[in-house]
Symmetry: C2
Subunit: 329 residues, 2 copies
């Protein structure tokens, strides 16, 4: 069934069916959802978090071999990752779809299924949205969540000189998936699966973000542009410098197996890993590591040299980024 044949309303009915199959925890707070001009939601917390992000054909993904379920998962995940990076809890999301006229309804249902898997796992309500025809496929998601309090959020400007720098999870997998033809028969099948998962099924670190707030961490950002690029946002907002030890970076093993020595560069600059980069005192980070539900690795230290970002190799030598790659001095 093509989107152009039955029109928007038929498709919306199918989507509503899919959504009704899933019952996230706080479903009661949705008083009126899809099917009216706006969703009406009961919202208990006073402090609200809101973010929006898009996945667009030919910019963020290609139509060849597109896994629609994974696209739905990732479109929500990149938004929940922003909520996680503030230490918040997601409550609801709105979805704006741009569909080419040739779109198959069943693919749109698959997209929603993938999104609803993550919605259910994270307690997020898909409360509304809209569908427009367009030349290129795009999924625009806005997520709204709650923060524990006005000062109980993780801000980019919260880092202090002397703080340790840590990351959740492992890095470089998403970039390695783009780098290596992971459908190639030359790549170990488990590695290929791991890279595909890193790119298409990022895990928003919601539990880790909340645990950070609980243990007094004040600064975090999610790694979407690449560890160094995102760290530089923290430096700018906090007025600090940073020194990263390359040997401590938790490189995705599948990235290392498929990309060799380049995997470190991918882990530092590749982006789309959607792990959390955060700073704090050693004791707080240790407590976070216990409760985060994912690996936590200390990779460096904030310094007082405002805006100065250094990466040091295993022998204490500075590494430098030039023209898209890393090289030793």
């Amino acid at each position: 069934m093509k989107a152009s044949k039955t029109g928007e309303f038929g498709l919306i009915d199918r989507i509503i069916e899919e959504i009704k199959k899933v019952e996230p925890g706080d479903w009661d707070s949705l008083i009126s959802g899809i099917g009216d001009d706006a969703a009406l939601i009961e919202f208990k917390s006073k402090y609200q978090l809101a973010t929006t992000d898009s996945l667009i054909e030919d910019i963020h993904f290609e139509m060849n071999f597109l896994d629609w379920e994974a696209l739905g998962w990732k479109a929500l995940a990149v938004n929940l990752s922003d909520i996680a990076a503030m230490g918040g809890t997601p409550k609801y999301a709105l979805v704006s779809l741009n569909l080419p006229a040739s779109t198959d309804f069943d693919d749109v249902v698959r997209l929603y299924r993938g999104m609803l898997q993550l919605a259910k796992a994270s307690g997020t309500i898909i409360s509304g949205g809209n569908i427009s025809r367009a030349e290129k496929l795009a999924v625009h998601v806005t997520a709204v969540g709650e923060a524990a309090g006005k000062s109980k959020t993780l801000l980019r400007g919260g880092a202090r000189n002397g703080d340790l720098i840590a990351v959740t999870g492992i890095l470089g997998g998403a970039a390695a998936a783009l780098e290596t033809p992971y459908r190639s028969i030359n790549i170990d099948r488990q590695d290929a699966e791991a890279l595909k998962k890193a790119f298409w099924r990022p895990q928003p670190r919601l539990q880790a973000g909340k645990v950070m707030v609980k243990h007094g961490i004040r600064c975090a950002i999610d790694i979407s542009d690449g560890l160094l690029a995102d760290l530089s946002h923290i430096l700018e907002a906090s007025g600090t410098g940073a020194r990263i030890e390359a040997s401590k970076i938790p490189v995705n093993p599948a990235a290392a197996a498929t990309c060799g020595t380049k995997s470190l560069e991918l882990a530092l600059t590749g982006g789309e890993d959607y792990e959390l980069l955060f700073t704090g005192k050693s004791g707080a980070i240790k407590k976070v590591a216990i409760d985060a539900g994912c690996p936590v690795t200390v990779i460096g230290k904030m310094t007082r040299h405002a805006g100065k970002l250094e990466v040091i190799d295993g022998r204490g030598r500075r590494m430098n980024f030039e023209g898209g790659g890393w090289r030793h001095f």
Copy 2:
């Protein structure tokens, strides 16, 4: 300055500058806005409204003669119209821009200026967003607002048999703008301006929506798809029928002047007028008319024939919609 040259961050700085020039009423409630992973907003009301809508190049507008300020205004207006149709008050909006690589920064600033004119007028905070490169220009807005209470909202399912049907404002102008070459020298200049304004600068009926709630109206929808299409959504949700008197439709005078007898059809089926269609008792509608801040016209009555939508001409004859046009039986 082209978007591709200075990159996303330079453009975001320019946008932040523009936003800081404007101070909507409730600005204090934005604790942390653009520049962190998510916006942090203090939200006083327990009942929240959320909606999302997009304007996409070649679907909703064309690049020839594009008025960027008007595009910004309209992208926010269509979302605020959904908040108005629920009887709510807008609080904040997030903006996701898709920009072709050739986009001129100054045009994006113009887009924001237009959006901020309406944001200021309506007390809406532009609290965040994101920018992606894309082949086609698109503006995706999500608006969040508050409702006075759980039952103090205007729903599509709130119409009852015997209710009068009314509309705010005048209809058919946006459709007439698409129908007639309003830049043509053959059209009266004032008419051309009126049609252009109807299409590009719709006025979200926020005051009227709130007044409706105050006077006990329970059912409204905004006219985006066309009066009859949107009325049919009310019929479906309310389980009622409707009888519309064509002679009472408040046709936009500029549409009548430029499109002649076709203007009635445009007013009934054209869409994009973003007026409110609502139902209620005669006394309540009279009170709404006094406080709405715009014309209010009774155009018909809800009937008990579930799903039956009749349009009656001046002589009491039924008019019928077939294959995109209206004709008498």
